[in-house]
Symmetry: C2
Subunit: 362 residues, 2 copies
């Protein structure tokens, strides 16, 4: 049985996007590929808010998140941790044998600019990792506020994961002092999983050039060298590049501002719906992600039963909580191609299901 | 303008296979994904000739080729080099900071079992890399003969790339003493690029467990842990997994033996055609790849003009030589879904084009 995902990744992919993948293969060293690759740059740079180049990595985001560490950490990395994915970044740094410490806050609390400043001011770090929108708990830190701090430390390379925010709101990579911006195909972009996009600053490339632990597959200098020829270092995931091309056309047609406004509007609609049922937002007020709502299960709904009814009777699937928050929170995505209508359909279905489960509006 | 590739990767992908990617997304931690993932195992194990597990890596083959080195090289790796890709493996090992040496033979010459034995007998290596079918020059080494040598060195972990041979002929991983078998989606399997498949032996996993340079993204133990739950460590490239499922069904329907016979037959047909025009095979006689023919351009054909006419007038593209062999060789693939009819169409078109270029049959 087919059903539609409203989980925060992988996001539902429109049939239009999927159909763009039904195109003949082209050689990845051919003129046709080079033209395709280069045609993506203006759109990606605009969405990222950068004059730097944007590379395509044949991997999910974790590949290049680990790869970025191997490229630029030569002293010590500071990992800003406030959810499952940002926590994991410290673990990955350790597994790569890199010196690493953390600012650890509770899941759902944003990264505090003051705490970031104090820690970077120790001078022991040359790299910092931040997840802008912590999908695991729906918490979004204040990127411009963090950016002010990042710009105060020109010797520190910042790596920022925007997998669930990039293209849904302004990221302003250059203005916000982000040295390596990373995003994936399968969340805010609403493309199928399997490709990451990244943009390193000149500072990040210079740092990478000074080290010798880059390896090959995720070597930023290899990306840059191939980028100059309109290509990727290794065989690219061509079907997802077809899909990205189509998506960038869609985004241009809608207009970035309209896209941002749509995400903000749908996000508020879901939030208001949740609150109308007495579910409070899990993250600190004012720091909910713009592309998903993570609700505390304050009414102790049976989330397994809820999702079963939702799927069986309505063909929709939401998320029942990530990791240690399983059962204690639930998450609803408004990423990608969702519209007032699709979100309204979901919320009506959820109304029906919650009533079936015996809950009433408070 | 749309055209069909007869280059040795990416291979032309059938519309049937492409259409399987037009399916709704599923969560990669869902029961549906687990069922899909597990359903692939029997077919992959049969094609690989192994009782070991087969993992899916969200990367092109080079990702896991580098990753495998980081997992298992703890002393020194021997790289068997006889073409562009096997040469590159030494470079990648060096870039990872690993101790590495090579058996270097000329492009187009197979890896000699005797040379492999002598070198491994020095006792300085704990790992060896081999490319079964060197796509760059169409040379295929004798896997069973090399396998006899590999089995003589139980302390050495062998990593074998079969990107352009696996599924087109018997590989017999277990019988041939292969510890880590690696293949990609985009060559012999005729799937779109962007996914690698790999199968490590227990010996390889044990070795990996003894080291601490595995990192995260390509950590074999992470693959194994997730495999036990029917999942991948990181977000998988779901659309290619849909395509793989369809392809395995196709392979089962055709029958492996019939598939092997088809590749052998088409390969011979192309070889006979080339020889009828006076082009000799580039690799040493008896060691041509079963999925492609790399011809020496012994008649000094203008390969750029040839490919332009072939593409413009017939909608086909062949390869005009890889790297230092550009212009000096040309390569024709018979991988994947090619049939007597499609190969016959290509060869007729090539007849026309060569005549147009003023060449006659010798």
């Amino acid at each position: 049985m087919s059903y539609k995902l409203f989980i925060p990744g992988p996001t539902a992919v429109s049939e239009k996007t999927l159909r763009t993948m039904v195109q003949p293969m082209i050689g990845h060293r051919s003129k046709d590929f080079i033209a395709l690759y280069r045609s993506l740059q203006p759109g990606l740079q605009k969405i990222f808010g950068t004059k730097d180049h944007v590379y395509l990595s044949t991997s999910s985001s974790w590949g290049i998140m680990e790869g970025s560490l191997r490229n630029v950490v030569q002293k010590k990395v500071l990992c800003c941790m406030n959810g499952a994915f940002s926590d994991k970044w410290l673990d990955v740094a350790n597994r790569c044998g890199l010196a690493a410490s953390a600012i650890q806050t509770n899941w759902g609390q944003p990264i505090e600019p003051g705490a970031l400043r104090s820690e970077l001011a120790t001078g022991v770090y040359d790299t910092v990792t931040i997840i802008h929108s912590e999908t695991s708990c729906g918490c979004m830190s204040d990127l411009p506020a963090l950016g002010i701090v990042l710009r105060e430390f020109p010797d520190v390379v910042s790596i920022v994961d925007t997998v669930s925010s990039c293209s849904a709101m302004p990221i302003d990579k250059d203005a916000n002092g982000i040295d390596i911006l990373i995003t994936g195909s399968q969340k805010a972009f609403a493309l199928p999983p399997g490709m990451a996009m990244l943009s390193p600053s000149v500072k990040a490339l210079d740092r990478a050039a000074k080290g010798n632990t880059r390896g090959y597959y995720f070597d930023l200098l290899e990306f840059q060298k191939n980028h100059e020829g309109g290509m990727t270092p290794s065989t690219p995931v061509i079907t997802l590049i077809y899909a990205l091309k189509s998506k960038l056309d869609d985004i241009q047609e809608e207009g970035l501002e309209a896209r941002f406004a749509r995400h903000a509007r749908l996000n508020k609609a879901v939030r208001a719906w949740g609150e109308s049922w007495g579910f409070s937002l899990f993250p600190r007020p004012g720091f909910g992600s713009v592309t998903l709502n993570c609700f505390a299960n304050t009414r102790s709904a049976d989330l397994v039963a809820l999702n079963k009814l939702l799927k069986d009777n309505h063909g929709f699937v939401i998320d029942g909580g990530y990791g240690k928050l399983k059962g204690k929170t639930f998450r609803i995505s408004n990423m990608g191609d969702e519209t007032d209508e699709t979100i309204s359909d979901l919320l009506q279905a959820l109304d029906t299901v919650l009533s079936k489960l015996g809950l009433g509006k408070p």
